[in-house]
Point group: C2
Chain length 197, copies 2
DNA sequence: GTCTATATCCAGATAGAC
DNA sequence: GTCTATCTGGATATAGAC
């Protein structure tokens, strides 16, 4: 029915607006400092009305987590194709630091475990796994297929973004290290794998 | 005066016990979830009595921050001497991951910026700088003196510890990557520096 | 879907008696 | 130094009228 559809659409629009506002407040007050009162005020609602859209505060964090990984997947798909896998990985590493720098609280929710009591639902975590599988595919494209390679790649991404956010927010000090670090990683992984074979 | 000395000693002892309890609670409830009520209960005090020892909750976080870096410095000094700087850096990287794994909330307070509103005092930050200067010295011992080398070294430490805590707490998955990553870091940095000269 | 009203609980912090 | 008492303001969440 048309009226049912319209109502559902309106509901989902509001859910989207609430998440937008939640990200904005998380940037301003800290992710763990997000409060339903402030969030409601930003939406020009009473705090209780938020429960029409989310059953709990945890559910809001969970929706943010899922949305964050969906955005990361979109960011991955937007990466330009590259013949050279090394150049592709360098661009991917830069894009990851940019992704984190653009919204620090998103990096914090997705990759650090700092919100007391929060754990993603199975459904949301599935999106996170898809992002990781995408990375596994890139490495395979560069001839790197063992689990250790993926683990070290993750170290570089996490470390680059973490240092950039914590010690040079708004700058480029670690961002500019992303490409050489990615090259380092590929050389290292190939050498190590060669040693073992 | 003897009685004055004894009182001061008792006071400082209590401060130490409060910090111990604060770390324990931070591990249990999350660093940002630390509450003065819980902390007082652990000390068998009323919450108000804590103000005899610390003027605010922020001051407690600040003392924890300073203590954490003092512990890191002690950990650095405990590293066995090594003729080979590469072996020394490998051991240092492993020790750093162990340091983080042993008390995740300490890693979180010292190296992530996730407690809403917390910023270290100048005095406490000075201790953090000493720890960083120590690392600079190690790299210099391996012939690595440019700022970029130190930045990439920090990426490795932060990334290794962060992944270990977030995705394999209690395990050794990233810890065992520390030594090979450090060894290759040295090789890579020397090669890069050679290219530039 | 949004509201008023309320429940329940907790936070960090201060004043002043003992 | 520790306590009782209190302030002030928040939090998340639920019930039920409109």
């Amino acid at each position: 029915m048309a009226s049912g559809d319209r109502r559902r659409t309106r509901h989902e629009e509001t859910v989207g607006l609430i998440l937008r506002a939640a990200w904005r407040l998380a940037e301003r007050d800290g992710l763990a400092g997000l409060s339903l009162g402030e969030l409601a005020r930003a939406m020009e609602m009473r705090p209780q009305s938020l429960y029409t859209y989310f059953p709990s505060k945890q559910a809001i964090y969970d929706a943010m987590y899922k949305q964050g990984f969906e955005e990361l997947l979109a960011c991955h798909e937007a990466l330009p194709a590259q013949r050279d896998p090394e150049l592709f990985l360098a661009a991917a590493a830069e894009a990851f630091v940019d992704f984190a720098a653009e919204r620090p609280s998103r990096y914090q929710l997705l990759f650090q475990r700092t919100v007391p009591g929060f754990a993603p639902s199975e459904e949301s975590y599935a999106v996170a796994r898809r992002a990781l599988e995408g990375m596994r595919g890139w490495l395979a494209g560069a001839g790197l297929t063992c689990e250790r390679d993926l683990d070290l790649w993750r170290v570089l991404l996490l470390g680059l973004a973490g240092e950039q956010l914590a010690n040079d927010p708004g700058g480029r000090r670690w961002r500019q290290l992303a490409a050489p670090a990615a090259r380092y990683f590929v050389t290292f992984a190939r050498t190590e794998n060669g040693d073992q074979k």
